[in-house]
Amino acid sequence: MPVNLRKEGQDDLMEIQGQMPPWKDDDPVDGAFMRLFSTLPLVEPSAGFIQRTVDAAWEAQAARRRWIHWAAAAAVLTVVGSASIVAMLGAPAWVVLTAAQAGAGSVMTLVWSATAVAEFWGLMVSAGAAVARVAVMPQSVAALVATELLGAAALYSLHRLLRAEVRFRSSGPLCF
């Protein structure tokens, strides 16, 4: 059930629910909100929260360190194992061939991508220059300004219409 405030918070709520001016530092509404928030129910951390939190932080750090050690050990084992196998058996010809092909393919892809980006950039520069040439002509500037003014006027009219609509809707029943 809603409770009407009668005593200590009354002035604060009157201040809050009255005319609320735009934000400015240290205004009276600010003080009223500060007092209003002092009525919020306090939440105290449960017993043992601090110890649990510190334990969790240390455990998370230990887990992170364990993971890093395992990952480092696995990487070293992989490198040492692969090197040992290659040293003992020698690298098969197909491994060397595949590596060479992959390397060459990567270089070709890189060159092709860079060329495509450069061509696109050149095209955009040409298009931009053409648009700029047209845009600086007096006729173009006049047309652009006229279009912008027309758009602003249309937006303003729409805004007025919508506000009128809202006022009409919220004015309550018209008859009955």
């Binding site: 409770v3 405030l5 200590e8 918070g9 629910q17 735009p22 919020l40 129910p41 306090l42 939190t53």
Partner: protein, 189 residues
């Protein structure tokens, strides 16, 4: 003499559990209270606060001692809370559905009459419910400003927003909050 937060952070980084325990005890209440304004469930608020402390410890190397530790830590808490709320859509509550689910009452004046104390408790519950109904972008700056008493500059730093945006959010949040309270019957007689 009280050891500074920056000094405690340095000691914690060197492995001192005691130093980090002191830091946690300094900010545990604030952290749980901030989180409790962002989520509905008290236990979840505690979990978020704990996760923030754990994440802060893991990233303690990135803390710049020139900055206020509280601002840096509240930034971590903000990130943890936002991550959580992104994972689970924010719950909204009705004004009637919120009473005393694990929350102690507001700080009361022992000299106040029982009626005044009851009104204060009811207003606190209504405010808490109203806070949970306004959007997070407005709620966070309101909580940091009016519950924690932080300045606009510090709030902007914590939330990673320009000061002008924080002021706008505070202004709009205050208006929304006042509207919700008014709609719930909290009007001056």
């Amino acid at each position: 003499m009280t050891t500074s937060d920056a000094e405690l952070a340095r000691q914690a980084l060197e492995g001192s559990q005691e130093a980090y325990r002191t830091l946690v005890s300094r900010y545990s209440s604030a952290a749980v209270n901030i989180a409790a304004r962002l989520v509905r469930d008290r236990a979840l608020a505690e979990d978020l606060a704990q996760e923030a402390f754990v994440r802060a410890f893991a990233r303690l190397k990135t803390y710049d001692p020139q900055r206020k530790f509280s601002s840096w830590f509240f930034q971590v808490l903000h990130n943890v809370s936002v991550d959580h709320l992104r994972r689970r859509r924010l719950e909204t509550v009705s004004l009637d559905g919120l009473q005393t689910d694990g929350y102690s009452g507001p700080p009361t004046d022992p000299a106040a009459s029982p009626e005044a104390a009851a009104e204060r408790t009811a207003l606190g519950s209504a405010l808490r419910a109203a806070l949970l109904r306004i959007r997070l972008a407005y709620r966070e700056p309101l909580v940091l400003k009016y519950q924690q008493g932080l300045g606009v500059e510090e709030i902007a730093e914590i939330l990673g927003l320009p000061e002008g945006t924080v002021k706008t959010h505070l202004h709009r949040g205050r208006k929304e909050l006042a509207d919700i309270l008014a709609a719930a019957g909290w009007k001056p007689d």
